[in-house]
Amino acid sequence: MIFTTPLGLLALFAIPGIVAIHLFRRRFPVRSVAGLFLWGAVRQTPEGGGRITKLPITRSLILECLAALALALILAGARIAPAGVSQHLVVLLDDSASMAAVGAGGESARDRAVQRVLSELDRLRAGARLTLIRSGDRPAILAGPASYLVEAKPALDAWRPDAPHHSMALGLRLALELAGRTGTVMVMSDMPSAARGEPHFEGGVWVALGDPVENVGITAAQRTSAPEDNRGLVSLTLANNAPAAATRRLSVHAGEKEVIARELTVPPGASSMTVPIPAGLPAVRVALSDDGLRRDNDVMLADPRARIVAIDNQLPDGRGRDAVVRALESVSGVTRSAPGTGHLAFVDAATLDQAPAPELWRAGFGRPPASWQAPGEPKDFIGPFILEKRHALLIGMTLGGVVWAGATPMAAGVARPVVSTGDQLLAGVATSATVSGSTSILVNIDLDRTNLIRSPDWPILISNLIEMRRQQLPGPERWNYRSGEWVRVRLDRDPKAQLRFRCGPVERALPAGRLIEFVAPSPGGLLQILDGDELLFEIGVNFLDETETALRDRSMGDSGEAGDVAGVRAETSATSDPLFWILLALAAAAMIANWLLLVPVRATRGPAAPGVAS
């Protein structure tokens, strides 16, 4: 017997109370009389204490104690233990897309997992509880915790694995937490844990239900456009895990219109191909004919629109200006602009104290403005240089062998250093910019004397500057993403209405702001970013997971053992336990019997004569 609310046992204190009442109750010697009416009913027992005598074990005492005991047990939630404990099965479902791959038998690992779960529940006692967890980077509970099969069955039937490859670790941790000491953990995957790259799993059963499948899928896709050639290109990386070449039909659709369709032979292993498409097409869907895994057979590629950075080179003629011009020639996505209208201007550092135009980035080379300088003469440095490695400006730079010439002493606080040597600031981001969207970058160097412009670091520096500026231009960072990647989109204005994105069946609201970041949803497709009803951008979100495409190494087998567990205590309602009704009936019977025992005998005679009984 168990008690769901043990505090209810405090009601047992009523029993000593009843005994005390019976013990101290006034008990007169009994005398049988023939005419009780002559004694007068109004003359009752006067107030006063009783005397302690031997406790009479009367029927009333027994019935009252019995009723109190039964009621106390009801209050304490007494349950019959076997009926309140159920087996608890915690199932972690591998949500990777390969679980949906259909083998030669027309059955997928997902189908076998569902059957296995149902058979395990059949094997357990009736009333077994089930917790369903879907694995992933963010594991989710599909049913439960500890739900009945009738509640979990719809979730199990509706489960459709389609996630990219991911670690099961987080899901396992959640499953073990939910199982605790009362549940059995069972993992349903299509590969053994070791083959899947998971750490050794203890405390449950790992069920591999995979079946080797020959599959061809798209593992990478890119779309580029070349307006000057009036065409675009779709670059695909295909993976064929079969030992022989496979023939597939490739089609490209723009909306409902099929643009390209052709048969192609995919050699074993990875292969690449390029498909030219007409320029100016909207988002296109590139698809292979169906095979074991449909998830990797198509991609949606949005039309990439390059974010061109307009460059305004205002450096004075000389080695420095020429070096910038040469570096710009090796960088794509840039254009020259008229003075004062570009996105990024290369200027003499002495002009950095002047107010910039809005949204204009300036890169100043040379001696800083006089107000930024500290007393002292310019010096040359050969290192060592302290680089702010995490700054986007210095990605890939080493400054090895560079002679940093003409570094002018700087006043403190005028710029945040990204390159320095000792206490000398060599390059940094000015802190005095006051115009919205503008940034000033100071490179405290004499370009006429330094060898930086001849070092490998120079084009890297210029490229980093341009990419930093490009990142700040409106539009998506990229136009095509994998599911699960972070999508970053910058708006050129504040949103007018609720920002949201819509991607197939998935639609979510986005926080208001000029910089939007969110995770590319699964299953993917064409993702639209909307400002109210206004379409801002369309980007492609695709599966693209070569690990899930390779289905040759799938296998079956169980590993691990389920330990002895206590089962989950069923928090059922009181009416579901037979003991409750037994106690209730016992209490009611005892109270009724006691009432019948104590009810005063009603007079069956007529009213007393006025002259006799008063």
């Binding site: 019976h22 109750r25 006034r26 008990r27 007169f28 010697p29 009994v30 005398r31 049988s32 009389v33 023939a34 005419g35 009780l36 009416f37 002559l38 004694w39 007068g40 009913a41 003359r43 009752q44 027992t45 006067p46 009479p56 009367t58 029927r59 009333s60 005492l61 025992l597 104590l598 005063p600 005998v601 007079a603 069956t604 005679r605 007529g606 009213p607 007393a608 004569a609 006025p610 002259g611 006799v612 009984a613 008063s614």
Partner: protein, 290 residues
């Protein structure tokens, strides 16, 4: 809390028959009014063959010539016949209260038995058609011998027969009522009902001494033997005083009601020797020396 069951014995009262017979030199005190009944030793209401002269009437053909008053014929020359009273055996209905209150204690049980036996003997000495009535529902049972009275003394009912409906009394019968009368009633109504169409009525009340004269006892749980409840009571001076007043009103009421219908009333205290009981009944006019 627990109501303790009243103890009552269904066993007939023990009767000391030698003592009863020793005291039973009495018979019922018959009324002066003519009686009805079969031919017997008592004068009846009609004409008969007794030796007691009743009236004269003119001779009619068929009259017994032995009853012709020849002396009157000599004086008046009219043939007249002498009429004599008939002699009857009176109908006696002995009504007994066989409720549990009559056996509330052994003393009362014995007293009830001996009182009933004494009255049975008196009935037998009266040469009457005696019957015993204990219930409104049952027909009167003949009492052929005094010892048969024991058959009627099993006191196991919870209600006195006199409280309920009409008893199966016979018309113009002599009725003797024996009870403790310790139940709520209106004496005038009750006695009038009992005396209706009777030739004669005698009322005998039997109580214990503590029922008539209780004393201070302290706390007691009083349980009505006939199941009319129970009460915890401290029997102190005030309680005794109140009780005695009520009992006195009850007994006085019975006595007064009996007098109104010309019935003798006797109060017998249980425990009194049977010889003294016979004397008390005789003094009250219920019985007379045989």
């Amino acid at each position: 809390m627990a109501r303790q069951a009243a103890s009552s014995s269904p066993v007939p009262p023990l009767i000391d028959w030698p003592a009863v017979h020793a005291a039973a030199s009495v018979r019922l005190a018959m009324p002066r009014t003519p009686l009805r009944g079969r031919a017997g030793e008592r004068l009846g209401a009609g004409t008969g063959a007794s030796l007691e002269f009743q009236d004269y009437r003119t001779y009619a053909p068929g009259d017994d010539l032995r009853h012709v008053d020849w002396a009157a014929y000599a004086r008046s020359e009219l043939l007249t016949v002498r009429l004599y009273r008939e002699e009857v055996a009176p109908r006696v209905d002995l009504a007994l209260d066989v409720s549990r209150s009559m056996v509330v204690s052994e003393v009362k049980q014995r007293a009830f038995g001996e009182l009933s036996a004494l009255l049975a003997c008196a009935c037998a000495a009266t040469v009457s058609d005696s019957r015993v009535i204990t219930s409104p529902a049952a027909a009167p049972e003949p009492l052929t011998a005094p010892e048969h009275i024991e058959r009627f003394l099993t006191c196991d009912v919870n209600q006195c027969a006199f409280e309920g409906g009409a008893l199966p009394f016979r018309r113009r019968s002599v009725r003797i009522i024996v009870s403790d009368f310790l139940f709520p009633h209106d004496a005038d109504t009750l006695i009038s009902r009992l005396a209706r169409e009777s030739a004669w009525l005698a009322v005998v009340q039997l109580t214990l001494n503590e029922e008539a004269e209780p004393v201070v006892e302290g706390g007691r749980r009083l349980i009505d033997v006939e199941g009319n409840g129970e009460v915890d009571l401290v029997i102190d001076e005030a309680a005794v005083r109140d009780y005695r007043a009520r009992f006195m009103r009850l007994r006085t009421g019975l006595s007064r009601a009996a007098r109104r219908v010309g019935a003798p009333f006797a109060h017998v205290v249980a425990g009194t020797p049977i010889r003294e009981v016979a004397g008390a009944l005789a003094a009250a006019g219920v019985v007379e020396a045989a």
